[in-house]
Symmetry: C2
Subunit: 242 residues, 2 copies
Amino acid sequence: MAYELYYWNGLQGRGEFVRLALEEAQAPYVDVARVHADGLGESAMLAIMNSRSEPHLPFAPPFLKDGQLIVPQTANILLYLGQKLALAPDNDLRYVVHGLQLTIADVVTEVHDTHHPIASGLFYEDQKDAAKARASDFLEHRLPTFMRYFERVLAQNPQGDAHLVGNTLTYVDLSAFQLIEGLYYAFPRAMKRFATRYPRLTALREAVAARPNIAAYLASERRLPFNETGIFRHYPELDQST
Amino acid sequence: MAYELYYWNGLQGRGEFVRLALEEAQAPYVDVARVHADGLGESAMLAIMNSRSEPHLPFAPPFLKDGQLIVPQTANILLYLGQKLALAPDNDLRYVVHGLQLTIADVVTEVHDTHHPIASGLFYEDQKDAAKARASDFLEHRLPTFMRYFERVLAQNPQGDAHLVGNTLTYVDLSAFQLIEGLYYAFPRAMKRFATRYPRLTALREAVAARPNIAAYLASERRLPFNETGIFRHYPELDQST
């Protein structure tokens, strides 16, 4: 049976980290909220979230449905799919992969908060000054701290620097690719010297983009473009000035 | 061999969620940074984080060392210990437990950001106005949204409302207790009607506090008091006014 992915229609957002894993593994899946058909669409997603009888309620999208099981939270979905789709080690190194994924999730939250530092329920325009301050701190301090860390993880991988863990692809490599793509979209000026500063992360990004299933996906209509409703938003006034 | 927990000395912080699991299970552990002895203390923690040869670098504390394996990220540590210490289901419901834990982690991050909405590297005093705005939104919108959700999860648990998942204790019950404790400490005015509004969460909180191993731990010197260096900080000006 096909996996059912539930995520808001019209944006990459956190759902994209899951899509990349499903696409790489060529797993059958339905992107439920994007299908206009009876019993599908965003109303099907909201029906689960508002259900008064569902025993395992998700707090928010994305969530994955596999038969009766509902798996919520991006990193948790990848943990689950990692085992099912052979995109994670089948030994204790799975916890190393998952730890890195949770650190990527932390970066994603911080990126979100560059445009919504005060309230996720308010418009960006209503928190622009705070957003400028938070984005400035993120680009000056947090982003280099995180990227130096991931570059070190690659450099110190005893099995070589082609993957974050071990010597084969795992879901966290795919997520690192997506994170870097998003950062380039949101902050092109701040990312200008990224390739020079982080050669291993850059090589990983290029290697993932060149994987046949990923390349086919990125060229397809299934890959939504980045836009200003997602996590990674290009607001030039939040980017570095030079 | 004893588990080694690495977390900053002097605060509960994110490390406390791990301590509660270890204490409930009576698992042998060393709280490394809190021990003043050769090879231990915060310097032992920093040595791992700064290592140029460690194959599985943690980004930040807390992390757990079990033999050679380093497991980083609070929720990931609990996922690992959940299996080892029988504090999680040994079937696919483990993903339901972990999803709830990751939602608690999201609340914890939002609580942190009530006092540090702009920059984690700056003092609270340097971002006080933004903190007031963010705390106000958190208490008015986010906290009720999260708490209504967890209350519903208890109400809709087909095995009864004594636990968040299934009919036995899991690590996420312990974390829910800690979350509620922290919220009472940080925002006593906003939490005034909590017990009336969320009777199931309140019963869970009381049941966890009454567990013999938890009660003994809370009464011991190992339980640090809440303070203004942790996640949950009591700044009266950030609490609700009535």
